[in-house]
């Protein structure tokens, strides 16, 4: 393992998309990785492939539904023990079900909040507490450019990501002085199961390319990174559009 890399990483939401790509890249760099996701079969398949590629048992899998928030603190402790440490934790779990423009389904919205925000808080609170005690570690939250504005097509997805961004910022303001890095990642369009088949996408990058950029930012411990970087320019413009104009643009 390169000493510029992480030794022990935990990826929540590792069975597909950006989370899976991150886990695969970390393991390929020599990191011992814990995969956490709901779908046990998928997890085991990915773990098997990663361990085969590494030629050793470098990856472990823990089946868990992030909506079971109470389980998170014990799992953090158990995973740290099984890995031998924990110096990078990535929360990549996310849900973005299709929502019609005239749909107001609280059950569907609640699920998005539970996966995208409550689950993140449940996992990252004990992680932050642990890392603050140790005075080291890196937390990465996979947010979204969607969290930068309230968009008509998916109000609660935007809300959950905006809330996640605010939580990560607050966490950073708590623990940065203690030696812990908190990195907010705001990906644009990434080719994953979540976005596949959706219309109007542009600048789509692969999950592997997104993972490569994200890990580079995590190693540097940046505060907020748009992935890819050109989204920063776009979103700076989008954020500066007054509401009365934004509401008429149909985003």
């Amino acid at each position: 393992m390169s000493d510029s890399n992480f030794a022990f990483a935990l990826v929540v939401g590792a069975s597909s998309g950006i989370g899976e790509a991150l886990a695969r890249r970390l393991a390929a760099d020599g990191t011992r990785v814990a995969l956490v996701a709901r779908r046990e079969d998928e997890l085991r398949r990915i773990m098997g492939e990663m361990n085969d590629a590494a030629g050793e048992e470098r990856t472990i899998a823990v089946a868990h539904d992030v909506r079971a928030a109470d389980e998170a603190p014990d799992l953090v402790q158990e995973i740290a023990r099984r890995l031998g440490g924990l110096d990078l934790v990535i929360y990549a779990a996310g849900a973005m079900p299709a929502v019609a423009i005239d749909e107001y389904d609280t059950a569907k919205d609640r699920e998005m909040l539970e996966v995208n925000l409550v689950g993140a808080v449940a996992w990252l609170n004990p992680v932050a507490e642990r890392m603050a005690r140790l005075g080291r570690g890196t937390i990465v939250g996979i947010g979204s450019v969607a969290g930068d504005r309230g968009r008509a097509p998916n109000p609660v997805y935007c809300t959950s990501k905006a809330g996640f961004h605010a939580y990560l910022e607050a966490l950073r303001n708590r623990v940065a002085k203690l030696g812990v890095k908190v990195v907010t990642i705001k990906p644009g369009f990434v080719d994953t199961a979540m976005t596949r088949g959706k219309e109007g996408l542009f600048w789509v990058i692969s999950a592997d390319r997104a993972a490569e950029i994200i890990l580079k930012k995590a190693r540097r411990g940046v505060v907020t990174a748009y992935v890819p970087a050109r989204w920063r320019i776009v979103m700076t413009i989008v954020r500066s559009i007054p509401s009365f104009i934004f509401s008429k643009l149909g985003f």
Partner: protein, 471 residues
């Protein structure tokens, strides 16, 4: 206190390796028992820790209980007539010599720093600059109390169980917790030693001067200019020292006063020593250390050569304590040390190879120390009839893997020559090379004792996992 609230970052002295540990700091036997019970209940291993002076991973294990015994630090009995002392494991070497020197007794074996605890020193069976005449610290231990991983306690002495005595000491805390030790101190007639400094133009001269001095002087230690190459390869300076005989010190009561031994608080009378490392840090790079090594040899081989002088015992013994926190010059990556013990007949070739290997890798050692040794009868002994060379290396970001590879390259000729290694200093040695230095049956005996005294392998350490336990 909850287990979660005991979580701390614990690292080796060299700051290059570390991990999270659930730290217990008992002040009595009840506290030790609580740590054992907690670990057993939670299915955690226990790593023993004293002052944390081992360079690498000997005194911690990631995600395990770290049983820090440094608060078990009472001197239980001191007999100034016989020079025997009963102490708890957390008594530091500093506290030990301060306790006894006023009565004319000095620890028979001391390390280059006075910070280690006696428990840790026995666990690693440390040696000093007088390894040839005095052996290791374990040879001056009369008996000790051992609490095993199941909580039972027993007294083990050279008389009642010589085998187990020699098995436990030096087995890096894998068989039990030493909760009391009785040591035999060494009688001295002065708080000063007579020191002679000499220079040697190459490695061959360093070794022969060391060998010539081993029976004439109590202490023999050499420093090598690691940047010199060609015909100057291995050149360096040697310091020999002896205790003063009765009558040589005109006023022993003064020199044996503990306060007279204290190292100066300021350098040149003005600069607080605690600030010194900040001034040394800019020199801690290859050009800077090349200059420092060259300058030290130049001065030592000219104005300092053949110089004879007297020096307080503490000042001579604890050179590493002259600059507090000097290890910080190696931040942010820290440092590792590699100490090889090589039989006398092969030492020159092996050390020559090692110094060249460092240059081939482009990672010369920043500090190299040479000592003369003799074998001992401890199960996990590191000593041989020969010499040791201790090499310090900075851990530089981006070069860690290469450094670890170099340690393997440095160790291979040692193994081929029938040499050994010193776990107290190690952080990077591959387990296969370490294990190959033992005679047939030694590791089997270790495993057998472990299976008897700690069948659940509660007592572990990062070092033991890496060097001994293959699973």
């Amino acid at each position: 206190m909850t287990l979660k609230n005991r979580l701390e970052w614990v690292e080796g002295w060299g700051m290059a390796v570390g991990g999270a540990g659930y730290v217990f700091r008992p002040t009595d036997a009840g506290g030790v028992a609580e740590a054992i019970e907690t670990a057993r209940g939670k299915g955690l291993a226990i790593a023993l820790r004293g002052a944390g002076c081992s360079y690498g991973d000997a005194a911690f294990r990631p995600e395990s209980v770290v049983l820090d015994l440094s608060n078990l630090s009472r001197a239980l009995a001191w007999d100034p007539e016989t020079g025997t002392v009963d102490i708890e494991p957390g008594v530091s070497l500093a506290a030990l010599w301060r306790l006894t020197i006023g009565d004319g007794w000095w620890p028979p074996v001391v390390t280059g720093t006075m910070e280690p605890t006696v428990g840790g020193m026995l666990a690693m069976n440390v040696h000093g600059k007088n390894n040839w005449p005095r052996g290791t610290l374990g040879e001056h231990c009369i008996e000790f109390d051992l609490t095993t991983a199941n909580g039972e306690s027993r007294t083990i002495s050279q008389k009642n169980d010589a085998d187990l005595f020699h098995d436990v000491i030096g087995s890096f805390g894998q068989f039990g917790i030493i909760t009391r030790a009785r040591l035999q101190m060494k009688k001295v007639h002065s708080g000063q030693v007579e020191v002679k400094a000499v220079s040697a133009p190459d490695l061959g001269a360093m070794l022969s001067l060391t060998d010539d001095a081993k029976d004439k002087w109590e202490y023999v230690v050499g420093w090598i200019d690691t940047f010199a190459r060609g015909r100057n390869l291995g050149r360096g300076l040697l310091h020999f020292a002896r205790h003063l005989e009765e009558g040589e010190d005109p006023d022993p009561a003064v020199s044996l006063d503990a306060e007279a031994q204290d190292l100066p608080a300021n350098l040149f009378g003005v600069m607080p020593k605690s600030l010194m490392w900040h001034f040394l840090k800019p020199m801690t790079n290859r050009p800077g250390m090349r200059f420092v090594n060259f300058g030290k040899y130049l001065v030592g081989s000219t104005v300092g050569d053949e110089k004879v002088y007297r020096q307080p015992l503490a000042g001579f013994s604890f050179l590493l304590d002259y600059v507090p926190n000097w290890k910080n010059i190696y931040l942010p990556g820290g440092l590792i040390q590699h100490q090889s013990f090589v039989p006398a007949a092969s030492a020159e070739q092996v050390f020559r190879d090692q110094l060249e290997i460092c240059h081939e890798f482009g990672m010369p050692s920043f500090l190299a120390v040479l000592k003369r040794h003799r074998p001992d009868s401890f199960l996990m002994s590191h000593a041989v009839d020969g010499y040791s060379l201790a090499l310090d290396f900075p851990v530089i970001r981006g070069q860690r893997e290469k450094l670890w590879s170099m340690v393997r390259a440095l160790a291979e000729p040692v193994v081929a020559a029938g040499g050994r290694f010193y776990p107290a200093k190690d952080a990077a040695l591959p387990g296969d090379l370490y294990r190959s230095t033992f005679r047939e049956g030694q590791l089997g005996r270790f495993a057998g004792i472990k299976a008897t005294l700690d069948p659940d392998r509660i007592l572990r350490s990062g070092l033991a996992d890496r060097l001994i336990y293959e699973d």
